[in-house]
Amino acid sequence: MSEWRFWFNSQRGTLLALAIFILTFAIYLANHPAIVNNGLTVQGVGNVVQTAANKGILLALIAIAQTFVVLTAGIDLSVGMIFVLCNVVASFVVVNNLGAAWGFDLGPVFGPAVGIVLVLLVGIACGAVNGAIVIFGRLQPIVATIATSAVFFGIALWMRPQPGATPEFAKALGKVMLSKVNGVIPASMVFLLIVVVLLWIPYRRSVLGRATYAVGSSEAAAYMSGMPIRSAKFLAYVWSGLFSGLGGLYITFVTSSGQADQAAAGTYTLNSIAAVVLGGVSLFGGRGSAVGAVFGALAFLTIKDLMFVLNVDPLWQPLLQGVILLIAVSIGSARLFQVRNRLELFG
């Protein structure tokens, strides 16, 4: 019985985010014009969910990326730029005839597969650069990632001064990744589930995963306990790069093109912070999970879309979104209501 209570206490943020998401998505579905007009059919709901899922997975992947670094009590302001850079890279290499220019053609199956691996390697490399600067250079993550994101943006802009894609881009693969399995379940959500089950859960249970939490709770205590703190922090940045890369890959499936978009990078970075906070991941480190961040991201997007289906005047939508974001993150993170002693406030 008492163990159950501990579990509930540690998952409180995740469960709250899940509750917010279910509530807002139910309101969203009930007011969506396609469902209001045609009634509650499996086909109609499936379409609405598919559209929302294909939008949601982008922020969900970036939010997971942010989670790894935030768990170590750091912050990664370059997730949006790694996302954009990987989008640009994917628009070059995820093609049906990879290697044709060098005399070997990998074909429409292996070509895109190798291209995807290349994109993810770029993401991992970006994360490794961040990790090396933060851990071995001993710079503060916030400044280091601001600087590296300028470099990542420069590289993206160099590769694609104008938005576009190679004509051989693997559009068929993109269509599959955005389709519905069995005509009901969105493929993107299946992909997200596979990623979480195959990557997040083994990581969370490994020694390095637990060390990540320990570093976030108290770096000095983790060091004294002989935790592999350097490897844990480095790995957190590498995972962050990998998941940003996955996000960049997915947006290439959505848009079938690459664009060095500075504004989009900034928006995704800021939204990823909002999503992890909504998802119950503590910015002080050591608390929260990627699952919570996913629900935080989905809830955040649903709140935004709610304005649209409720026919709020477009001019007032940004303000309402801002106020809702303000209230949501304030309630989630205000420590005023949790302290018993005045000195604890300064902790």
Binding site: I75, I133, G137, R138, L139, Q140, I142, V143, A144, I146, A147, T148, S149, A150, V151, F152, F153, G154, I155, A156, L157, W158, P161, E219, A220, Y223, I229, G266, L270, I273, A274, V277, L283, F284, P314, L315, W316, Q317, P318, L319, L320, Q321, G322, V323, L325, L326, V329, S330, S333, A334, R335, L336, V339, L343, L345, F346, G347
Partner: protein, 325 residues
């Protein structure tokens, strides 16, 4: 003569007296100018240097507020839309006849001050991490400005007084530079000669210690955020004067350079350490770097890469944390 020197009880070593970040930053400025002058002798002309100081003045005023907040160990991410809000509100006031023209500058600053107060109260009393609350307040300020302006750049233009301090110059000296000197002088006085300034450094080092020493820490934090908001809005007012009118998202280009300028000047992002001289050096360094890279006609992508690499390289020289023991 020799008797007097023996009275000095403690002599700081050369390295302790030398402020390494500030010296390095100024050294890099000189290096940039030398490299630039090899490329073109115009880089050392007074006109070019004053023009750079004028461009740097806007960043300098915004970075002053950011520095006060960073010294507390906090950060203000609401700067972009506070800048825009200051510019738009001042221009809006100008549209209300002669009285509005007089009130334009104070009104713009007041609006920024209110945004800063909101940040400060949330950080100091509700204890919300500044990174989150200022991010959300930035979204609210953006929403307010979009609702006010209808999503377009407003038609109101800047008042004559705003244009006077933002765009014009006397005897070749741009008024914006004079304003920056005044703001900077006040900031130095505030940080080094007043209890408020000492309290800011104290809170940045350890808030609980400052509190137990009798510093009203919560009020100081609120005041510091209000100051940052007011200065960001003032920077926006000057920018509107410089450009003639306010524009959507005109402040977006100032957040990261402001943080970078403060940090390059040797102020610790964890708070408690840093001097205003360093911030001046950081602002000039970033302005010169951007200018020289664009004059050399390096493509945008190259500028971004060089910009990022130089910030990392300089911080690796002197901005590193203590090793964990």
């Amino acid at each position: 003569m020799t008797d007097q020197t023996t009275d000095v009880p403690v002599r700081l070593s050369f390295r302790q007296r030398l402020n390494v970040p500030v010296v390095t930053a100024f050294g890099c400025i000189v290096l940039l100018l030398v490299v630039g002058s090899i490329y073109s002798p115009n880089f050392l002309s007074p006109e070019y240097l004053l023009q750079q100081l004028k461009v740097g003045a806007f960043l300098g005023i915004i970075a002053t507020g950011m520095m006060v907040v960073i010294l507390l160990g906090q950060i203000d991410l609401s700067v972009p839309w506070t800048v825009t809000l200051g510019a738009m509100m001042a221009s809006a006031a100008t549209a209300y006849g002669p009285m509005g023209e007089v009130a334009a500058i104070p009104f713009g600053i007041l609006c920024g001050l209110l945004i800063g107060l909101l940040n400060g109260v949330a950080v100091a009393y509700l204890r919300i991490p500044s990174m989150i609350i200022t991010l959300a307040v930035n979204a609210v300020a953006q929403g307010l400005m979009v609702a006010y302006s209808g999503g377009f750049s407003p038609q109101d233009s800047a008042s004559p007084a705003m244009k006077f301090i933002g765009a014009q110059s006397t005897l070749g000296v741009p008024h914006a530079v004079v304003v920056w000197i005044i703001v900077g002088g006040l900031a130095v006085f505030l940080l080094t000669r007043t209890t408020f300034g000492r309290a800011i450094y104290g809170i940045g080092n350890k808030e609980s210690a400052a509190y137990l020493s009798g510093v009203p820490t919560q009020r100081v934090v609120v005041a510091a955020f209000a100051l940052c908001g007011a200065l960001a809005a003032f920077g926006g007012v000057l920018l509107a004067g410089y450009a003639g009118k306010a524009a959507q998202s005109m402040g977006d280009a100032y957040l990261l350079p402001a943080i970078a300028a403060v940090v390059l000047g040797g102020t610790s992002i964890l708070g408690g350490r840093g001097s205003y001289l360093g911030t001046i050096a950081g602002v000039i360094l970033i302005t010169l770097l951007q200018s020289i890279l664009s004059v050399m006609q390096i493509a945008e992508f190259g500028r971004q890469i060089i910009y990022g690499v130089i910030i990392v390289a300089m911080l690796l020289l002197y901005g590193r944390d203590q090793k964990l023991r």
